[in-house]
Every structure is written in structure tokens, then in C-alpha cells.
Amino acid sequence: MAGETSNPNFLLTTLEKGVNWTRTRSMWPATFGLACCAIEMMATGTAHYDISRFGMEVFRASPRQADLMIVAGRVSQKMAPVLRQVYDQMAEPKWVISMGACASTGGMFNNYALVQGVDEIVPVDVYVPGCPPGPQSLLHGILTLQDKIMSGEITRARGLIV
């Protein structure tokens, strides 16, 4: 276990970096478009902004094949269990980007219908601000996530870390 070793040797550190690098360069997002942000997420995937430059153009409809969930849009109370189920079905290691004001905080809709921030349901790694965030913002969020992965540990698992 890399995290428990007080003095990690050269090989182990390199392996960790190598694994993290491969993880960042072939991250497959699950299609989880909900509202306005989903359109910008689709725009990010197409020719103008071209998410495939980051190895992420393979949007998977099945959560079993995805590493990253981009929560793009407002999450209603009715959708919340579905979102959690999709998240649970994803294989470890997995990451979540909360895209847009609604997904991050409920946005301008502080009312009975919306979950006030998707981090009430799933752990969020990167919050992308905007309403909706432009493709550039989403790409910045993705790069931020890649930095985060690169600096993290390969044994990191959800639920084990408090």
C-alpha cells in the first residue's frame, strides 16, 4: 500500500505516477445529461472544442464502462435516486464533476423540486461554475480533475476515506 509506506521507494512512486497518468488519459465519461448543461457537454464533445484531445470522447451510456460522471444540469428530487444508482453502478476508481450552478448548489432554483447541490448525494471532485458553463469551463474542470488524479494515490477508494 503506497499510502502506508513511510518511505516509498523509487519504483513504487514511478508506478503510481504511471498508473495515474494512464487514468487521466483515457477517462470515459458516463452520459448523464440532465438539462441545459447537457447541451454544452455535447458541444464540448463535438468538433469545435473536441474533448477527444484529452482522451475523453468515449461517452458511455452504460455506467459500468465509465470512470467519470459529469452531472450536467439540475437534479430534481425525483432524479436523485437514479443519479445515485448510476453512480453506484460505476466501477472504481470513479470521479464526479458537478457541472453548473444547479448541480453544484441548486443554482437559482431554491425551491421544493431541486436537490440543493449534487454533493448531497454523491461525492464531488470538481465543481464547474457557470449557468451553463461554456465548453471552455468544462474543459478547465476536466484538466483540474486530471491534475487532481495525478497528485492522488492509486489505492484511493471511495467510502474508505473519511
Binding site: A35, A43, A47, H48, G73, N111, L114, P132
Partner: protein, 477 residues
């Protein structure tokens, strides 16, 4: 459970003589089938397995002709040939759940489909996964910021939503919009129609397997979005059209930008038609699929390109013109067959017609102010605030309290890219709406899904759903 509770009429079934003989026979058969398969009939006592089911209620499809009398009363009589079919093997029937997380449901629509082999016998759309409480939120926002709320309903045509809201508020206010403001509104909403239809082309192509269309549609749309960003500051959800006019005048050099859009979009459209119109796979998957007749379209309240593809000549821009759109020449394309292919033709032609309108706006853009000079509605220019106490007070009142709208009720409809978008506003004289109800085109479209999808195969369901262009934010609000 006894047979009496299973009859659709409840405890007191009407005498059989009152009904036509064949209908009675059909219903008896249906009852027999229900008895065998334990399907619960709405309005009767709930058996345990219903009560213990999920919060969606019964996971089985409810029989469609529950009570013929009610159907006749509503003016909707749906004939279902499956009830008369004797050769059905019920064991082959299975219920498939599609969505709410599915790449082809255009958001978070959920469909319950009852399949017999690969044939869809019944479809039940389940909505509400994107319910945002926008009608309630509208009651908490002053009229000036109400546009931020409505613009997020149908997020593919935000400017049309804003226009509808602005028009219904102005109807109660009784303010006149200068002709330049009206022309800017027409320009922006028609460009928005083009961008919305381009997205539709992109996703429609993707759903039926023409993946290149996805790239092309978004490519052309970016040209329009760049213009929107230049004018309004945002790519989507602009809050640009506001009660009293528009938020800002067009930027310098906007004519060149719009002409650039013409070139890009027209060249793109020609390419698409070369790609798709003669493509045998595309034709096979779209022609004669997902048909809705004009009568059914009327009954279900379907409007917009879907109704026009069925041959209904109804376009609000022609029937109830708004914002001075009657002064521009354009044609309303109509289909003949009401199938998926006709919807494709109608929408592509609508793009051309919208560009035609934009071209005329470009030629005839009047000068003058872009918003009303009524100081109770429009904030004063920045310069006047330093000079005039009156202007300062107006500015302060507008941005703290907002303007008040006289008591009354009003309905205004605009032709959004998806059909008749209507807003019904009730004001009690305050600075916020007392009630805002929205009649959204996608809602009516989604309720007509069972009509179009019954007896199609599963692959055609995807093509039909994609051809309807429902926006779930528009359905659920």
C-alpha cells in the same frame, strides 16, 4: 378480487344493451385477459401487490380504453386493435423500461414499453425527472428578473421563452415596443429557431446512426452561438429579451456576423440534404414511421413542426402574429404523411425560411431605440442618473422593487421551434406574478407518444422519439 370490481365502471356496470355489441365483446375478452394476468384497473380497490409496488404505482400498463364514455366525453377515442386480436400469446409480452438515464431519450424521459417480441404494443411516458418548480419560482421573481427563470425552461430555444414572457407582461403593462426592439426580437428568435433545429438535426442523426450529423449540426450551431454570445454575453440562457424591449442594442458589425451565419448554415444544409435525402438507410428508417394523423394531432394538442408535418397549416407567426413578424415574407412548410421523414423535411425547410426572415430583418432594420422609453419599465441611461434626481429614483425603484403590473390576466403564445409556447399570467398588481402557467409544446408532444409508437418496432421508437425533438426541461419545467 371479484369480477365486479374489475369492470372499468366500478360497482355498477352499465347494462350491456346500452353499448354496441362488438364493444361489449371486446371488453369481455379484455376482462378475461386481465383476470388471467392480474392487471389492476384504476379506480378500483388496490390489491396488495399494487400498494407494495414502487412509487411509480403499477408497473403494468393500464388498459388504454378504461372507460369509453370518458374517452368520448374528452373527444379522444383511441382504438386499439390489439384488444380484438385473438392470436396473441400473452407469455411473449414483456415490459421494458427505457430511461430516465438513456442516451436516446433526449434528457430524462422514461418510457414504459410493453413489447410483444420486438413490437411495441403500448407505451407509457413517465415524466417529472427534471421538474424544477419553475412556475413556482416565477412567483418569487420580479418581472425584470423573471426572464432568467423562463429562459431555462426550453433550453434549446431560450430566446423564444423570453419573448413569450416579455410579450405577456407587456400585454398587461400596455407598453409599446419601438420598431427596432421588435426587429431585434424577431432576428434573435429566428436565429434561435435555426440553432434549435440544427441541434435537432444533430441529435436526430446521432440517434438513428448517422453519427456524422452530430458533428455537423453542432459545427453550424457554433456560428450562431458565437453571435449570441457577442450580442447577449452568453451562449445559452441569455435573459436578453426583457419586458420593455431587449437588454442591449446590437453590437457594431452585427450585419457581417449574420451574413457569415447565412453562408455557414446554408452550405451546411446543402451538405446534409446531399447526405441524407437519398440515403437508403435513412429513408428506410424514417419514411412511414411514427405517423400521426392531423386529427390525432388536434386531439392531443400537438403543434409546431410535428403538426405541420402531418399537414396542419398552423403557425402562430401567421395565425396570431407577434412582435411585428407579419411584415416579413416567409412560407410555412407543410408535410403530407406526418411521418418522421416529413418532420425532417419540414424542419430543414423551416431553417431556410427562418434565414429568409433574418435576411429581411437585416435589410430593413429600423433605427431608433431598442426599448421603450417608459421610465416606469425601462431603467434610465447611466448618464441621466448623474443629472436627474427623477432618473435616480426610477433606477433605484426599478432595481429594488421592480415595476408593478396592473391587475389582470393575459395569455400570449409564440411559435417556439417546438410548437405553441404559451404563457398565462395572472397579476394582482404587485411587482411579481401572482401565477404564471406555461403551456409548453413538448408536453403535448410527449403525451402523443403512445399514438405514434403503438405497433412500431423498438428501433422505430428511437427514430420517432428523436423526430419529436422533445426538450424535457420544457415538459417538466
Amino acid at each position: 378480487m371479484s369480477d365486479t370490481t374489475r369492470t372499468p365502471e366500478g360497482e355498477t356496470p352499465a347494462p350491456a344493451a346500452d353499448r354496441p355489441a362488438d364493444e361489449t365483446n371486446g371488453r369481455l375478452d379484455a376482462d378475461g385477459r386481465r383476470r388471467e394476468h392480474e392487471i389492476w384497473v384504476a379506480g378500483t380497490e388496490e390489491p396488495d401487490w399494487i400498494t407494495n409496488a414502487t412509487d411509480e404505482g403499477a408497473q403494468e400498463m393500464l388498459p388504454r380504453d378504461l372507460d369509453p364514455a370518458v374517452s368520448v366525453q374528452r373527444g379522444v377515442t383511441v382504438t386499439d386493435d390489439y384488444l380484438e386480436e385473438e392470436m396473441i400469446v400473452d407469455d411473449e409480452r414483456q415490459i421494458i423500461n427505457m430511461g430516465p438515464q438513456h442516451p436516446a431519450t433526449h434528457g430524462v424521459l422514461r418510457l414504459h414499453m410493453e413489447l410483444e417480441g420486438e413490437t411495441v404494443r403500448r407505451v407509457k411516458p413517465i415524466i417529472g425527472y427534471l421538474h424544477t418548480g419553475m412556475e413556482k419560482t416565477a412567483e418569487t421573481l420580479p418581472y425584470m428578473s423573471g426572464g432568467t427563470n423562463v429562459t431555462r425552461m426550453d433550453y434549446l430555444s431560450p430566446l423564444n421563452n423570453e419573448l413569450c414572457y416579455a410579450l405577456v407582461v407587456e400585454q398587461l403593462l400596455g407598453v409599446e415596443i419601438p420598431s427596432r426592439g421588435q426587429a431585434i426580437r424577431v432576428l434573435m428568435t429566428e436565429l434561435n429557431r435555426v440553432s434549435s433545429h440544427l441541434i435537432w438535426l444533430a441529435t436526430f442523426g446521432m440517434d438513428i446512426g448517422a453519427l456524422s450529423m452530430m458533428i455537423y449540426g453542432f459545427r453550424e450551431r457554433e456560428a450562431i452561438l458565437a453571435f449570441f454570445e457577442k450580442v447577449t454575453g452568453l451562449r445559452m440562457n441569455h435573459n436578453y429579451i426583457r419586458p420593455g424591449g431587449v437588454a442591449a442594442d446590437l453590437p457594431d458589425g452585427w450585419e457581417d456576423d449574420v451574413e457569415g451565419i447565412f453562408d455557414v448554415v446554408r452550405a451546411g444544409l446543402d451538405d446534409y440534404q446531399d447526405l441524407l435525402n437519398g440515403n437508403p438507410i435513412f429513408l428506410d428508417r424514417t419514411q412511414g414511421v411514427g405517423v400521426i394523423t392531423p386529427k390525432e394531432a388536434h386531439q392531443y394538442g400537438v403543434t409546431g413542426p410535428i403538426a405541420r408535418a402531418a399537414g396542419i397549416n398552423f403557425d402562430l407567426r401567421k395565425v396570431f402574429p407577434y412582435s411585428g413578424i407579419e411584415q416579413y415574407d416567409f412560407d410555412v412548410p407543410l408535410g403530407k404523411h406526418g411521418d418522421v421523414f416529413d418532420r425532417y423535411l419540414v424542419r430543414t425547410e423551416e431553417i431556410r425560411q427562418s434565414l429568409r426572415i433574418v435576411e429581411q430583418v437585416l435589410e430593413t432594420m429600423p433605427g431608433g431605440d431598442y426599448r421603450t422609453d417608459d421610465r416606469k419599465v425601462t431603467p434610465p441611461p447611466r448618464k441621466r442618473i448623474d443629472e436627474s434626481m427623477e432618473a435616480l429614483i426610477h433606477h433605484f425603484k426599478l432595481f429594488t422593487e421592480g415595476f408593478k403590473v396592473p391587475v389582470g390576466e393575459a395569455y400570449q403564445a409564440v411559435e417556439s421551434p417546438r410548437g405553441e409556447l404559451g404563457m398565462y399570467l395572472v397579476s394582482k398588481g404587485a411587482a411579481k406574478p401572482w401565477r404564471l402557467h406555461v403551456r409548453t409544446p413538448s408536453f403535448a408532444t410527449v403525451q402523443s407518444l403512445p399514438v405514434m409508437m403503438t405497433d412500431l418496432i423498438v428501433a422505430d421508437v428511437i427514430a420517432t422519439l428523436a423526430s419529436l425533438d422533445p426538450v424535457l426541461g420544457d415538459v417538466d419545467r
